[in-house]
């Protein structure tokens, strides 16, 4: 059996990638608590498996697969925990809520691309790798997402 990562290594990965993965998971599930649960289970699993070659990409792919499984097994109309997943700077609480609302209104593929690019800090190549799509497709999804967000946020900004 392969030696798993140590607790310290797992905690370090969680500290580094936890917020981005949670934002990504929440954008997929629309449920903050469910996304947190997915993360907890995934990081516990890391204790028993060999260290992935590219931890960041592995973690995003794993979160995506787990979220898709949750969505398949638990198809519901409304999210149970639509908690705010963005931290708003002082005086921008209202604007932050508008951003969250606008992101929720994007089509799922565009939402995924924009969350990964803006709040997870991924390159378009990384997004394409995680989603297993061509780079051009990732780029166009992102471009469409920005266009739509611009329209939705016009009044707020």
């Amino acid at each position: 059996m392969a030696a798993g990562l140590t607790g310290e290594e797992v905690q370090e990965l969680y500290r580094q990638h936890g917020p981005a993965l949670l934002a990504y998971g929440t954008s997929l599930l629309g449920d903050f608590a469910a996304a947190e649960d997915v993360l907890q289970q995934l990081f516990l699993r890391l204790l028993t498996m060999k260290a992935p070659r590219e931890p960041r990409l592995y973690l995003f792919k794993a979160v995506r697969n787990r979220c898709l499984n949750v969505m398949r097994g638990n198809a519901r109309l409304a999210p149970l925990d639509p908690r705010e997943w963005l931290i708003k700077p002082q005086g921008m609480a209202e604007a932050g809520l508008e951003v969250e609302k606008a992101v929720r209104e994007l089509p799922p593929e565009q939402r995924e691309a924009v969350v990964m690019r803006i709040w997870c800090g991924m390159t378009l190549a990384e997004i394409a790798s995680v989603l297993e799509i061509p780079l051009n497709t990732a780029a166009s999804r992102y471009r469409y997402a920005l266009e739509k967000l611009r329209g939705l946020l016009k009044e707020t900004r």
Binding site: G7, Q11, P19, L22, L86, K88, G96, C120, L153
Partner: protein, 122 residues
């Protein structure tokens, strides 16, 4: 109007908001927990063995006591001490006494229809 410039402005606006951190990760590490448990179990076992050897009386106190049933009159008669005493006091009557005792304790090979009777005949 430059669309790339517009994209950059929108991106920097969106990046003012940061992703919220998840709740702290609670790791249960059963494999690492096993080692201290094994050490505790081994220490407890060693301590118990040491106690048993250092305080043998403690073991007897705690041990279950069995009540030995009272020996019957024949069992008393055929005890080694009693037979030795009998042999010293009246050696001439020892054989007769043993015959009498064996007739009372051993099965009669001539009685009944069992295997012993058939063997006695042969």
């Amino acid at each position: 109007m430059n669309p790339d410039r517009d994209d950059e402005k929108l991106e920097s606006y969106l990046r003012q908001f940061h992703a919220r951190a998840p709740r702290p990760l609670v790791l249960h590490q059963p494999r690492r927990l096993f080692r201290p448990l094994a050490v505790i179990a081994a220490t407890a076992a060693a301590l118990l063995i040491a106690l048993v050897f250092l305080f043998p009386g403690w073991r007897r106190q705690g041990a279950q006591t069995f009540v030995v049933p009272e020996a019957g009159p024949i069992a008393k008669e055929i005890s080694f001490a009693r037979l030795s005493r009998f042999a010293r006091q009246s050696p001439d009557k020892l054989e007769e006494h043993l015959n009498e005792l064996s007739a009372r304790t051993l099965p009669d090979v001539r009685a009944g229809q069992g295997v012993l009777k058939r063997l006695a005949r042969e």
